[in-house]
């Protein structure tokens, strides 16, 4: 054994990395100043950002919250600042925020009614929970179904028996479907069930709900559709459009995937026509043309008409999302269903659609976000969505001339809603992805 005393026998302790590559300095060097070009970019963007913030922030935070009118605001600023500087007049928001959020129906016209839209929103969140958390108890699906009937009741008011008897009629239709599918194929059982439901609604529902209402009224103060306004209107149009469009969209998507020539072409034609025109033209159709297309004795409320057209619009887009989901399923799934001897409808119901819908959920959520944003278009046809209300507020002599504060507030609320939904959609996408692997 030779003498190897010049060789170290123990490991040296790790040296600390140079001060320039750790901590704040290191982070800065790596992420902001890694090269000359990068440093220049950082400096320029930083300067721009500072300029922008220094223009906006004082305006926002030095604003006045307590004033009676725009003239009052201006007077207060003139008193405070001799050089004529003015900042935001947030007093308009303090005065009218309830109209923007809850609309005329639940705003200060009816002080006590805030709870109705709020409870409705809470119900929707509960209803969404089966999607939010995939393994909630099945009882929650009942809550989802109940919300379908309770939310409109909360918004429009009237007697509870209307929605309840309607739900009974639909349950009757489902029962009829069960019986019918025992004796015939689904393609025929489905129309039978629809006819049964329609007959129940037309014949039984009216007398039954009136009868029950005369026993126990159980009614909320009715709200006419045209008074439903503000963010409540936007959310309601969005929700109604998404929920009502889902069945239509599934039918359209299946139709477009179908081998039946006429069904395929009709579905494709409908989808392409709706997707080819701007939403605003469909809203014109709803508010201006709809009356011509219906018999003259039917008087369709503009809000309802807009909801119908927005539903059709959404259905065309969601149909494409679902078609994507259908196409994304491995072919083996279809073949396996065939091998088991399932009929077309059994295969769709038990194997194809559950999987296709699951992967379509993020797409459906992002469609919901765009529909929600697009509801601002109804302000162009004099419905009172938040932008419409902002116009109405400015046509009052107190607040005539106010622009940025209203747009800023409305934009902020939209942003909060849409941003949280898009985050949720991203999260869901990740959840669903791991489910697949």
């Amino acid at each position: 054994m030779s003498d190897l005393s010049y060789v170290r026998t123990e490991m040296l302790p790790q040296k600390a990395p140079p001060a320039t590559s750790v901590g704040v300095v290191g982070w800065l060097r790596e992420n902001l100043f890694s090269s000359v070009g990068n440093s220049a970019l950082t400096v320029v963007t930083g300067a721009l950002l500072l300029m922008l913030l220094s223009a906006i922030l004082p305006w926002v935070f030095l604003g006045i919250w307590d004033a009676e009118s725009l003239a009052d605001c201006r007077a207060q600023f003139a008193e405070m600042y001799a050089d004529g500087r003015t900042y935001a007049c947030w007093a308009v928001i303090a005065d009218r925020w309830d109209q923007i959020m809850f609309g005329y129906s639940f705003g200060n016209l009816n002080e006590g009614l805030y709870w109705r839209p709020l409870l409705g929103l809470a119900l929707i969140l509960v209803a969404l929970s089966p999607i939010l958390y995939p393994n909630v108890p099945r009882i929650m699906y009942v809550a989802t179904a109940a919300t379908l009937f309770l939310y409109p009741w909360l918004i429009w008011g009237g007697s509870i028996w209307g929605p309840l008897t309607l739900a009974m009629c639909i349950i009757g239709g489902i029962v009829a479907f069960r019986f019918a599918s025992q004796v015939m194929i689904t393609a025929f059982a489905l129309p039978v069930a629809i006819v049964v439901t329609a007959v129940l609604i037309m014949v039984v529902m009216g007398p039954l709900s009136n009868g029950l209402a005369s026993v126990a009224a159980l009614e909320l103060q009715p709200v006419p559709s045209r008074e439903v306004s503000g963010f409540v209107l936007s959310i309601t149009i969005g929700i109604v459009a998404i929920v009502a469009s889902l069945p239509i969209a599934i039918m359209l998507a299946l139709g477009r995937q179908s081998d039946l020539f006429i069904v395929n072409k009709l579905s494709t034609g409908f989808i392409e026509i709706i997707r080819g025109v701007p939403l605003i033209t469909l809203i014109f159709v709803a508010t201006v043309l709809m009356k011509y297309f219906l018999p003259s004795h039917i008087d369709l409320d503009p809000v309802v008409a807009v909801m119908i057209l927005v539903t059709l619009f959404t259905a065309a887009y969601i149909a494409e999302v679902i078609r994507g989901g259908l196409a994304a399923l491995p072919k083996g799934q279809y073949e396996a269903a065939d091998a088991l001897g399932l009929t077309y409808w059994q295969a769709q119901r038990l194997i194809i659609l559950p999987q296709a819908l699951k992967i379509s959920i993020p797409g459906i959520v992002s469609n919901f976000i765009s529909v929600f944003k697009d509801t601002t278009l109804v302000s162009i046809v004099a419905l009172n969505d938040p932008l419409g209300i902002s116009g109405a507020i400015r046509s009052n002599s107190d607040w005539n001339g106010i622009v940025w504060e209203l747009y800023g507030f409305i934009a902020l609320v939209f942003w909060i809603f849409c941003f949280s939904m898009s985050r949720y959609s991203l999260w869901l996408e990740r959840q669903l992805q791991t489910g697949h692997r």
Partner: protein, 338 residues
Amino acid sequence: MKKSVFLGTLAVAGLAAGISAAGTLDDVKARGKVNCGVTEGTLGFSSRNSEGKHEGFDVEFCRALAAAIFDDADAVEYIELSSKNRFTALSAGQADLLYRTTTWTFSRDVDLKTSFVGINYYDGQGFMVPKDLGVTSATELEGATVCIETGTTTELNLADYFRVNGMSYEPLPVGGTSEAKALYEEGACDVYTTDASALAGVRASLKDPSAYIILPEIVSKEPLGPTVRHGDNDWEDVVRWTQNALVAAEELGVTQANVAELAKGTDNPSINRMLGSEGSLCSMLNLESDCFVQAIAATGNYGEIFERTIGESTPIGLARGLNALWTEGGLQYSPPFR
């Protein structure tokens, strides 16, 4: 109602009572409310206050009508209509009448199957310019940029006026009054044009009203008035004579304060006939015998409505001008009640 409200969400309905070509008055009575079409927001004429209630000049006429029919000025459903769907809404029966700053023109009266039954405001299109431009007449506006609100007769009058005077201009069409005003204040246009009634209101609400002047030219006739469906003469009469009653009340010195007193009978047969203590004019309209008393008690006479909503004591500050009584050099004139 309760049921249909709900069904509406299912696209099944919104099925209200059928609209027949005749008998609007019966429909209104059966419904218990007047469906009055108003603008979605026009300064002074119709807007919502912070309680969400409608107020304004046109709104007062709707209220007077409701008071005449039901003795209840609040029995009005206000249907907010855009300039695009107002006539459709009227012809489809969604509104019983329009008090919607609608200009009475030949083609609207004849071609669109609507009827105008009176004029509650005589308007005309005017121009407003900043004082420092040094312009004193509309004929000096060669090459100017003009802010206009789209979808109104204003656009057509403007095109005609400049063409007749051989001048060129740049139109800057804007969706609504408040947008147009914001653009004007920033100098995006030199001239602001709209009905003179609105012009005064816009000027009053600018940051520095004294820096702007309204030019003397009025370039068009804009008689604004109530509009009903063509062919329902009974309903036309109710609307027409309720409005006339408000004007006549001012002519005769009947006010909100003294109408109850005067209704008991006076020395003046004109007042007595109108207020129902002599004869029975109201019942000829199929209304309660004190219909005009109720209308005047609810809103006051024409002059009172004007002063309260758009007159000189309000921020809008309109002078009576053409809308003064005929006895005072204006055009408001009521046919006799006899």
